[in-house]
Symmetry: C2
């Protein structure tokens, strides 16, 4: 027996979500079906709402409410606009904000530099970054792209195009994560942490 | 930093789905946000669609397209309407249909008999079941509620109210599932399988 068409349609819509297999999609569909009509309408509105009511901050490229553009971070006078942290995605901004401690602003690339697959300089908003560095008084640009092959390539590319501006260009330290167990850590991380070892400070 | 309100709203809507934690809900939300507007509209329509276009079959209580009521199983002249398999939910119908082999019809209770928590005889459509058994020519009623405490209690209750009709009332066999490894099977299942052991047939 096949599911009735409206059920199949919702299962397929849920299956397109990341990490959702056929069984989870079916369970979610039953949940919606067994739930109230009002809950279904609320979910539908929320799904469309993120497209209607969310936009990219014109300054940093992070997601923001259409009513707050530039975004709350760029608009915050307490944040240091002379320090720009460059990240691949809006999700990375959230991870950094959750971690706390950083008081500068951001620049969201929206991907990694990979001309071979059509992700050229324009696609990653690198021109906008150079422009921001030229316009505002900027002291430091922290290139916090991921420590992957693409992220490293992007960091190198950005460092190259920013170099003529004579700013301080940094990259977050890479090494052994807090709370990690050496035994279960990948070799790349260990090797990198070892070669970047630092002298212990006297207490 | 908090998420912009439209994002929080969608994360919360996804979190209400079964098996979706805060991280999965956020990932799903980014997926919708990074996807096309058309995909979001399609998902929204599908979510509302299961409420608008799906109804309960007036005969068996299974979910069906509003355009096909009674449902395709009840309407199928090839199915044996004199054999009714009673299940807790529409999901169980699908599991049985996937397994194949059963050619009778169904009766979906929509829950288990549990008067203490307000799930009385009316809530589980037991009156409708008795009515069907009285009306149609019915030979056998298979009570396929789950082998849980509630499912067993429901089976006993149904057997009691159906008893005066003098029909054949059966329950699927419980025991060791095919392909299972005794070593990893729960004790209840093993004990039940042992006490319900059957003589091997000569080949």
């Amino acid at each position: 027996m096949n599911y009735p068409e409206p059920i199949t349609r919702l299962i397929e819509a849920f299956r397109r979500l990341p990490g959702v297999g056929p069984r989870s999609a079916a369970r979610m569909t039953w949940h919606v079906l067994n739930g109230s009509y009002d809950d279904a309408v609320e979910m539908a509105r929320a799904v469309v709402g993120v497209h209607k009511n969310i936009t990219r901050c014109t300054a940093c490229g992070n997601y923001t409410d259409t009513a707050s553009n530039p975004c709350p971070i760029c608009a915050d006078p307490e944040r240091d606009a002379a320090t720009i942290c460059v990240v691949e995605s809006a999700e990375d901004v959230l991870a950094l904000e959750r971690a706390g401690g950083y008081r500068g602003v951001y620049h969201v690339l929206g991907g990694t530099f990979n001309p071979a697959s059509g992700k050229g300089a324009a696609a990653i908003r690198s021109g906008e970054l150079v422009q921001r560095a030229k316009n505002g008084p900027v002291n430091e640009i922290i290139i916090a792209t991921n420590p992957s092959i693409e992220g490293e390539a992007t960091a190198l590319y950005l460092a190259e195009i920013l170099e003529p501006l004579g700013l301080q260009i940094t990259r977050p330290a890479h090494g052994i994560p807090m709370g990690a167990d050496l035994e279960f850590l990948d070799g790349d991380t260990i090797a990198r942490a070892m070669s970047a070892r630092r002298r212990m400070e006297n207490k």
